[in-house]
Amino acid sequence: MTVSNVVDQYTVLTGDRSKIKDLLCNRLIECGWRDEVRLLCRNILLEKGGNNSITVEQLITEVTPKARTLVPDAVKMDLLMKIRTILAENDADI
């Protein structure tokens, strides 16, 4: 069983997944990342706008790498640390 499988299943089981997701989303909105990505999407859509050729899948493959690099380093470190502590403290609880 792979790491991803185990982590997915465990976090869904204990309900940590939604907790971490909320944390992440809030943090990303706070630092303005969400708006940046939205702007990126808009710009790409405007570039290719005329014809309705671009699909969501295309957009995702195009923008996801950029979006990942857009996350500020401080925020990324902070989030990783928080996720780690949440996972670790779960171990202590059980």
């Binding site: 069983m1 792979t2 790491v3 991803s4 185990v6 982590v7 997915d8 299943q9 465990y10 976090t11 089981l13 997944r17 971490i20 997701k21 992440l24 989303c25 990303l28 969400r34 990505v37 939205r38 999407c41 808009r42 859509l45 969501v56 957009l59 995702i60 923008v63 996801t64 979006a67 990942r68 996350v71 990324k76 989030l79 990783l80 996720i83 780690r84 996972l87 670790a88 171990d91 059980i94």
Partner: protein
């Protein structure tokens, strides 16, 4: 990687009860198996880091996908252009703030305008600053109009002294054939009228009262 078969096979779970325990499907492990796997995983700090990284990446991708779908939805429903808005050319002229002396920001003169109010009682135009005192006098309140007030008070006292107060009051109204307002205007006639009522009371006969009715 095959999942290690659940070592605590006796854990009572609905999913494990449904399927035969001998053929534990790796795709559907029990809750206990998941917990055990996870515990083993995070014993190693390196894999813990991996797990955290993985979780972070996954959730980040989720967030990105959320934004994509939102944008896509906006575009398909035509709301994306609505977000951009329309450039307003004439906004400058319409909403410009006026900075001339003696004019407020809307370009209207700040000079004081004479404000007049119409008195609801006597329909006269009264300056706003004088309206409250006028109304006080006009409606017969306060000290200044004590003439009317005292007269009213006297009327009341005089009538209440008699046994048939209500009847005399009606009588006076009947004599003049007018309303209270008319009484206010003419003071002397009222005085006379009061005297007449006094006289009738002095006669003190019910007959008299009946006559006037």
């Amino acid at each position: 990687m095959a999942a290690n078969p659940n070592p605590l096979g006796s854990v009572p779970l609905a999913s494990s009860a449904q399927m035969p325990p001998a053929t534990q499907n790796p795709a559907f492990p029990t809750a206990a198996a998941i917990v055990n796997n996870f515990r083993e995983l995070i014993k190693d700090p390196k894999t813990l880091d991996d797990a955290a990284n993985y979780l972070y990446q996954t959730l980040l991708d989720d967030a990105v996908a959320g934004i994509f779908i939102e944008t896509h939805h906006l575009r398909k429903t035509g709301n994306l252009s609505a977000l951009d808005g329309v450039v307003e050319d004439n906004a400058e002229s319409t909403y410009r703030i006026c900075e001339m002396p003696n004019l407020d920001i809307f370009g209207i003169s700040t000079a004081k305008k004479p404000m007049d109010c119409t008195c609801p009682n006597c329909d006269r135009l009264v300056a706003a600053a004088r309206f409250a005192p006028h109304l006080e006098k006009c409606m017969g309140m306060g000290r200044i109009s004590s003439r009317i007030a005292s007269r009213r008070l006297a009327t009341k006292e005089g009538t209440s002294a008699s046994s048939s107060s209500s009847s005399t009051y009606l009588q006076s109204g009947g004599n003049t054939g007018g309303t209270d307002d008319e009484d206010d205007v003419d003071w002397s006639s009222d005085k006379r009228k009061k005297k007449s009522t006094q006289n009738s009371r002095n006669n003190g006969s019910k007959k008299n009262n009946g006559k006037t009715f």
